[in-house]
């Protein structure tokens, strides 16, 4: 009986005996359209409505260009740093046993749970000139708070959980046979890491990077406190959106938002494409000849 029903559910069309498909999909889709898609559609339509002229004027503003450069640049650097630190933390959590390991594991999720504004004021207080760490950096002329370094730091904080949590499960399921084979063939630990483990983790690393980048690009709450918010210098694109909005300069706000949205779309696209890309390569045996 179960077997017969189980084959029924796998059949490509119809005959699925479970109830509620139309209801759940219908209600879910309507809700998604109302809450998420309709607002995004409004932005897209207005962005297209700007026309070549509107876009030209919006992007001609050097302040807008500086904000975009800063946002994309800091998000990229921060995502790279978060990926490196994240890989290290994931490696240590999966491969080693030490006192406090579970606590460290729990700590990884803190940036998810901690409100961004709270993180922002805390990081600023730590790295300002009289803060816990800022105080020690000050004599060396190193400034973190109110500079772009501070922005990168806040974005690393935000991106870190993504970087750890995408690599960690891959490390957990990574079989040790290939490492054993590498070792038995005389490879050093470092060679095994570089040529066996790293290629296996690469999809996870790239996914984590894309997630951290997408989040960093749009991050607002944790950054505005530590950034200093000087136009042309430390003013991120999301902040400039709110400023233009308050000045009722809708077109500039829409142009900036549309570009950030495009950045998010591309990151999501990359995240979805990465597994397919690597599955393809694996099928062709592309990894063997490296």
């Amino acid at each position: 009986m179960t077997v017969a029903v189980a084959t029924a559910i796998r059949s490509p069309r119809g005959r699925n005996p479970l109830p509620g498909f139309g209801l759940s999909l219908g209600l879910g889709l309507s809700w998604l359209s109302l809450v998420v898609l309709l607002p995004l559609l409004a932005l897209s339509v207005r962005a297209v409505g700007l026309g070549v002229d509107g876009w030209w004027r919006a992007l001609g503003d050097p302040r807008v260009r500086a904000a975009l450069e800063l946002s994309f640049g800091t998000a990229f650097i921060a995502a790279s740093c978060a990926s490196i630190v994240g890989a290290l933390v994931a490696w240590v959590l999966v491969r080693y046993r030490f006192p406090g390991r579970r606590l460290l594991d729990a700590l990884v999720d803190l940036p998810f749970a901690l409100p961004t504004a709270v993180a922002g004021i805390a990081l600023t207080a730590i790295y300002s000139a009289n803060g816990w760490i800022g105080r020690w950096l000050e004599p060396y002329g190193l400034k973190v708070a109110y500079t772009s370094t501070g922005i990168v730091l806040a974005l690393i904080f935000i991106g870190l959980p993504f970087a750890v949590r995408t690599v960690q499960p891959m490390l957990e399921t990574l079989g040790r046979e290939q490492e054993e084979a590498a070792a038995s063939l005389g490879a050093s630990r470092f060679t095994a890491l570089r040529r066996v483990i790293f290629p296996e983790l690469l999809p996870g690393l790239l996914t984590g990077f894309s997630l951290a980048f997408a989040r960093g690009l749009g991050e607002y709450g944790s950054v505005i406190f530590i950034a200093g918010n000087l136009p042309y210098k430390t003013e991120i694109a999301p902040l400039l959106i709110t400023i233009r909005l308050e000045e009722y300069d809708y077109n500039a706000a829409i142009a900036l938002a549309a570009l950030l949205l495009a950045g998010s779309f591309l990151s999501l696209l990359a995240i979805n494409a990465i597994p397919l890309l690597f599955a393809h390569e694996r099928r062709r045996g592309g990894r063997d000849d490296r």
């Binding site: 005996p17 504004a117 997408a214 749009g218």
Partner: protein
């Protein structure tokens, strides 16, 4: 033992552990300690006084009000969508999954701006709203809508891998024994997914309470009326009332910590029923 070719030498291991722990302490633990230290730096009384202030009270109640609306809605629609996506095959499923993920990647400020474009004075629905005397922006509905946008994926994303992993056998058995759709759902599906659901709701509530960017754009920052707790923190901080800002921040951090502790507890007690999904909450 020493020559295990799959283990790094002890000094390498401990250096890596020290580096990882050091990085996490510096990047993640220190901000939390900073919040607590600054909040209680002037004693418990100053902390309490900052939270007793009417503005802080109204900000807290607005935050809780928002969460109280957003959580049940997300739980219901999240479960519905997860049911459709985990139990059925249909055309465009991959696309739908990506669309659900969109709020993860979209900037909160962009989300807020989208709502302004719909409900603002120049927005699509401006005339209709004005005619019916409904206020959405700079009022509670806007804050709720912004929070709904931001927290949309949390419950669905938590439930889909869990339901896929569990399979439909038990539900099919219930149906074949003549259970009605509702009986099947309430007696089989819901008990199976309850821990995963709770977990998703927890993540969702942490995000809902702390949401800043999207709410900031649509709220209008009217003190005592449309200020949520995170916005209240910003105002206090910009007025250099650091102790009060950190006192409010400590409240939100406390809620975040409770979230993490409950999550930790669910994982260690019911790890089997959320294990598959727990790393994929991003």
């Amino acid at each position: 033992m020493i020559d295990d070719p799959l283990r790094e030498p002890a000094w390498v291991r401990w250096t890596l552990i020290a580096l990882a722990v050091g990085a996490m302490v510096l990047l993640v633990l220190l901000p939390l300690l900073m919040v607590l230290s600054a909040a209680f730096g002037e004693g418990f009384r100053a902390w309490w006084a900052a939270l007793e202030e009417p503005d802080a009270r109204s900000a807290l109640s607005l935050t809780l009000f928002t969460v109280a609306i957003v959580l049940p809605i997300n739980a219901v629609f999240g479960t519905l969508m997860a049911w459709a996506l985990a139990r059925f095959r249909f055309r465009g499923k991959r696309l739908l999954l990506s669309l659900i993920d969109l709020p993860f990647a979209v900037s909160p400020v962009v989300a807020g701006l989208c709502l302004v474009l719909l409900f603002g004075s120049q927005g699509w629905f401006a005339q209709w709203l004005a005619a019916h005397d409904i206020k959405i922006l700079f009022a509670r509905p806007g804050i709720v809508l912004a929070t709904l946008f931001i927290t949309f994926p949390f419950v669905v994303r938590e439930l889909i891998p869990l339901m896929e992993q569990q399979g439909a056998d038990e539900e099919l058995a219930a149906r074949s024994l003549g259970a009605s759709a509702w009986t099947m759902f309430s007696r089989v599906t819901l008990p199976n997914i309850k821990w995963g659901l709770l977990y998703g709701v927890l993540l969702c509530s942490a995000r809902a309470m702390g949401e800043f960017g999207a709410v900031s754009v649509v709220s209008g920052h009217i003190r005592g009326l449309t200020n949520t707790l995170p916005l209240h923190i910003e105002i206090l901080y910009n007025e250099f009332d650091t102790t009060a800002a950190f006192a409010a921040a400590s409240l939100l951090s406390g809620l975040a910590l409770v979230t993490l502790v409950v999550k930790f507890w669910i994982e260690s007690r019911h790890g089997d029923v959320i294990a598959a999904s727990h790393r994929r909450t991003s």
